[in-house]
Symmetry: C2
Subunit: 329 residues, 2 copies
């Protein structure tokens, strides 16, 4: 069997059939990047070596068009997404399981580029890809590829992060500018008439979270506002904490290019996806410490206090606008 | 917001956008079937309550056409597949993470049927679905739906099942008839000219495995021969154990309808997928006990000893045919 031609070869249905071609794809394209003791056993299941603590599990399916965008690609994005869901529970990421649905005809060099990007993102977060699966569907039945990443992490049982712990008077912080990811991806879609040099903010936040938990040990909750954006996370928290949340538009960190693109496209930046930012609620007496810890970290330089919780039987999220008005978001 | 019309409604792109429509899909279609303490927390990650032991993790992506086939559907199949990968490591299934990629236009009643089937399969295996994710792709970009299931289980550390432990003289057992799943699914594809009353064998094998580990505690290894069939598993074991394996065609349990369909379609039943059978290798002195334990279990009634391992520097898998010949598989 000749070696895979990664430079000009393409995915064929046989690569998903479980036989020799699947083995070859694993050996020549996946293992060089994902290699570790567990995966090299090549069992259908991996044994984990977990430290003591509260074990946390999460998963995310990723479907992105285009696969490559300014600042990232579906590969690192899928790893960051799962790492961040673990981190928002205070967990230190440990083991990842990866599954690919590949479209027949996908260029092997594109797959390699994605796999390399996943490998780097996994190593950066101190995690390992311990098991995986690959299926191939007929041409036309997937946007190049879909990736699902499931993660296991271990949290210090002292931290119990939940929107239910938040109460009126608590403070809402955002770790950086909002909307960068969603607008960077949109700017690459065919048929859209704007160009920007905007980059996606896709990144892992597990290191930032560990710093925040030390600086503000009574943090109530953390969340990365991905799909649905900041507004959706705040509404979920308002409902969980049975409070209202008031946000100040003047305080929102946002890039001019994102604002401009949102105006052009008629979008509300509060609903645009972020992939490398976090929202936090913390008691007022630790808000300053939390903000300072964000500012001292490379991933939180543009952090801001954006609002606070208030008593409200309707659990509304209200925006104080630039113009002195209010609107429910 | 009116309730979902499950009878005649369809999946729309907004169901995957992370906002209110996604929440409604979760509340009205997923939670009624998947409800448990973990999932009802509706965090992005779930905290697991694992018993002591060796923690095992596995995942599988499922792409099946058609979604519904005689004897099962993509829902129970996706659960059985992951449960079985855990079981083959001797693990007792605990927590599952489920991710859906849904195609715009999918009938909600089909999704409900799949979700119900997943729920039943999960309960049967004594596991829980603790976290999940749903994405929606444009019409034409998925075969109805793709499902990835990742599972965590806990194994008694005394059992270390691996093909590396097998050696010449050990015995190969198969828990029942081969090829039922692959042929049952093929029979439903458009354009194929045969009809059968064959059912897929899709089922969880975790209960059978626990019985076998008691009856034959020195079992070397277990595997469910899914994609790639019995032949692929045997070749992987030959390579891992650095032996040859000889199989007797006369001993293979196989249904007449499967044999007939394979002849008609020019397929080798040894390469057809199974979704509810297991292969085992065990030392000769425990083979009889292992076979008896299979026969005494409802999922192993047609089990058979099908061959044995032998010294072979080429690590070939050889079939002794009905006609007294031999062929390498």
């Amino acid at each position: 069997m000749p070696k895979l031609n990664i430079k000009s070869g393409r995915i064929e249905l046989v690569h998903g059939a479980g036989g020799r071609a699947t083995q070859q794809l694993i050996q020549e394209l996946f293992l060089p990047y994902f290699d570790n003791e567990e995966l090299s056993q090549q069992q259908d299941a991996a044994t984990l070596n977990l430290p003591a603590g509260r074990v946390v599990m999460t998963n995310d399916a990723h479907v992105v068009n285009p696969l490559f965008f300014p600042g990232g690609d579906i590969g690192c994005l899928s790893i960051h997404g799962t790492i961040n869901d673990l981190a928002m529970q205070g967990a230190i990421p440990n083991a990842l399981a990866v599954s690919f649905v590949l479209e027949e005809g996908l260029a092997l060099k594109d797959l390699q580029r994605v796999v390399k990007s996943m490998s780097e993102a996994t190593n950066d977060a101190g995690a390992s890809i311990v098991t995986g699966d690959t299926k191939v569907v007929e041409h036309g039945n997937a946007d190049g590829m879909y990736i699902t990443v499931t993660g296991i992490g271990v949290a210090d049982p002292r931290y119990e992060l939940s929107g239910k712990r938040a109460q009126a008077g608590d403070v809402v912080l955002l770790s950086g500018t909002l909307g960068d990811h969603g607008i960077a991806v949109l700017s690459q879609r065919e048929g859209l008439s704007f160009k920007t040099d905007l980059q996606s903010d896709t990144q892992s936040l597990n290191d930032l979270v560990q710093v925040l938990l030390k600086a503000a040990p009574d943090l109530c909750c953390l969340r990365d506002p991905t799909r649905g954006g900041v507004a959706t996370t705040l509404n979920e928290w308002a409902s969980q904490s049975k409070t209202g949340i008031v946000i100040n538009e003047n305080a929102l960190p946002i890039k001019q290019t994102v604002l401009g693109a949102c105006e052009l496209l008629g979008l509300d930046p509060l609903y645009i996806a972020n992939e490398g930012k976090l929202l936090a609620i913390c008691p007022p007496n630790q808000a300053e410490a939390c903000l300072n810890a964000m500012h001292a970290h490379p991933k939180g330089q543009e952090a801001a206090i954006i609002g606070e919780l208030q008593t409200d039987p309707h659990n509304f999220v209200v925006l104080n606008t630039h113009f002195g008005g209010q609107r429910i978001i």
